[in-house]
């Protein structure tokens, strides 16, 4: 009993048939081959599966694929422009915010959603935004630093 849906992923328009019981996470990874989005728990408790749907950061493990009809999805693969990394990606590398890297795509996307909406967040606001992304490697310290660094740069540029 497949359903036909049409949606946008990163820069591509996709049209395909999905089974109602597929989650968005499964659609992204197994059908579209975009393996950057990860499954850490499958129940919305760890944030590793975070993607951006119509501008909002969400857990793709909690959504059904069928609900994507007409929507726009951004995964980690959609952040870089050609070979130009997104400032968050650059900052994560430079600040040592990446250890095992499994939580990284999810956290970068939440950070992007945060900065798109609030370009000058306080440290508390940053921690509040990423509270739904569990990391077992970094203690979050350098992740927060990386996000702050991007926010600072954005605000410097604004001041110019």
């Amino acid at each position: 009993m497949g359903r036909h849906i049409q949606f946008k992923v990163n820069d591509d328009s996709v049209s395909l048939e999905v089974e109602p019981h597929w989650t968005l996470l499964r659609l992204i990874r197994d059908e579209l081959g975009l393996i950057g989005t990860k499954e850490g728990c499958g129940e919305g408790d760890c944030g590793a599966c975070t993607v951006i749907v119509n501008g909002k950061a969400v857990n793709s493990c909690l959504m059904l694929a069928v609900d994507m009809d007409g929507k726009t999805i951004t995964t980690i693969e959609g952040l870089a422009r050609g070979d130009e990394l997104h400032p968050l990606q650059k900052a994560f590398i430079e600040k040592g915010a990446v250890q095992c890297g499994f939580c990284t795509p999810g956290i970068i996307l939440v950070a992007k959603a945060l900065l798109d909406q609030n370009s000058n967040p306080s440290e508390e606001e940053i921690r509040f935004a990423i509270a739904g992304n569990l990391c077992r490697c970094t203690g979050y310290a350098k992740i927060v630093n990386a996000i702050q660094a991007v926010a600072e740069k954005n605000n410097e540029r604004k001041g110019e």
Binding site: M1, R3, E19, P20, H21, T23, G42, E43, G44, D45, G47, T50, K56, A57, V58, N59, C61, L62, M63, L64, V66, D67, V110, A113, L114, F128, A129, I130, A131, G132, N133
Partner: protein
């Protein structure tokens, strides 16, 4: 997840007729933050899933300057947490919304879902109880209204008949000079289900400053979210600084009926409900 038959009704009437047809074989899908994990763990195995998100206009927040708020059942928790009017006039609701899950979960979860899932710890319930909010329910024989207090029956069970669905929550304006707060006790600063939740709404007389209307609601310490009516009576007629806090603490603990589970023991919950209620009143 197991396979299921899937429906996307376009109107409330269509949804109700599907619900009438399938009864207990169907589950309603809104945000999915409670339903999907339960389905994955085999706790709920519906034959069919009815996705109500394609029904237009169920996610609207309307402010009527006379009567109050009308919040559509599909309103996102993230919307409730950040809506300027709610932040200003109903912090008891925005605080509760902000405390739910994570940013990602709040971007999916709905007000209706939080209520209909009927967890004893449902964070939105205490705030709606202390504001004397009402629910609009659509069904095969038309729509009806009920106070939030009548909605919760047992853990996971709500007062909806076959073929009925929640469409709207109506929050009346509180009297002028009302102070409200929602406090949640949890172990972590985010992500946690409440071990104890307390909402307090005290409306004070303008001149004398005595409390003319008191509402206290408790979450996670009874089979359903409940009002603490005996405790309210103790507060009625008193000025804020005259409220006998020790007695309040004692009585509110008696009105709670917590259980011990993996999140906390009954004894601890009893203690916390007293202390949290006192803290809530003091903060006003």
């Amino acid at each position: 997840m197991h396979r299921f038959d899937y429906y996307e009704p376009r109107t409330v009437e269509e949804a109700c007729s599907l619900l009438l047809k399938f009864g207990p074989d169907a589950s309603v899908l809104a945000g999915g933050t409670d339903l999907i994990p339960k389905m994955k763990n085999g706790l709920i195995v519906p034959k069919c899933v009815i996705n109500i998100k394609k029904i237009p206009d169920l996610d609207i927040i309307k402010v009527d300057r006379e009567t109050g708020l009308s919040i559509g059942t599909l309103t996102l928790i993230s919307e409730l947490a950040t809506h300027p009017f709610i932040l200003e006039r109903f912090p008891v609701l925005s605080t509760a919304a902000k405390s739910i899950g994570s940013l990602q979960v709040r971007n999916l979860a709905t007000l209706g879902g939080n209520l209909c899932n009927a967890a004893p710890s449902a964070d939105m319930a205490p705030g709606l109880l202390v504001t004397d909010s009402a629910l609009k329910i659509a069904g095969p024989s038309g729509s009806r209204e009920m106070f939030v207090e009548e909605f919760f029956v047992a853990p996971g069970k709500v007062n909806l008949g076959r073929g009925e669905m929640l469409t709207e929550v109506r929050v009346p304006f509180s009297p002028a000079n009302t102070k409200q707060v929602y406090l949640k006790h949890s172990i972590r600063q985010a992500m946690d289900i409440a071990i104890v939740g307390v909402a307090v709404s005290l409306s004070l007389e303008e001149r004398a400053g005595v409390c003319k209307k008191a509402r206290i609601a408790l979450g996670a310490v009874a089979p359903t979210p409940v009002r603490a009516k005996r405790t309210e009576e103790i507060i009625l007629g008193k000025r804020l600084n005259e409220i006998p806090l020790a007695m309040v603490g004692e009585v509110v603990a008696q009105e709670a009926a917590p259980i011990s589970d993996v999140r906390g023991s009954a004894g601890y919950r009893s203690e916390i409900v007293s202390k949290l209620t006192i803290k809530a009143i003091k903060s006003l």
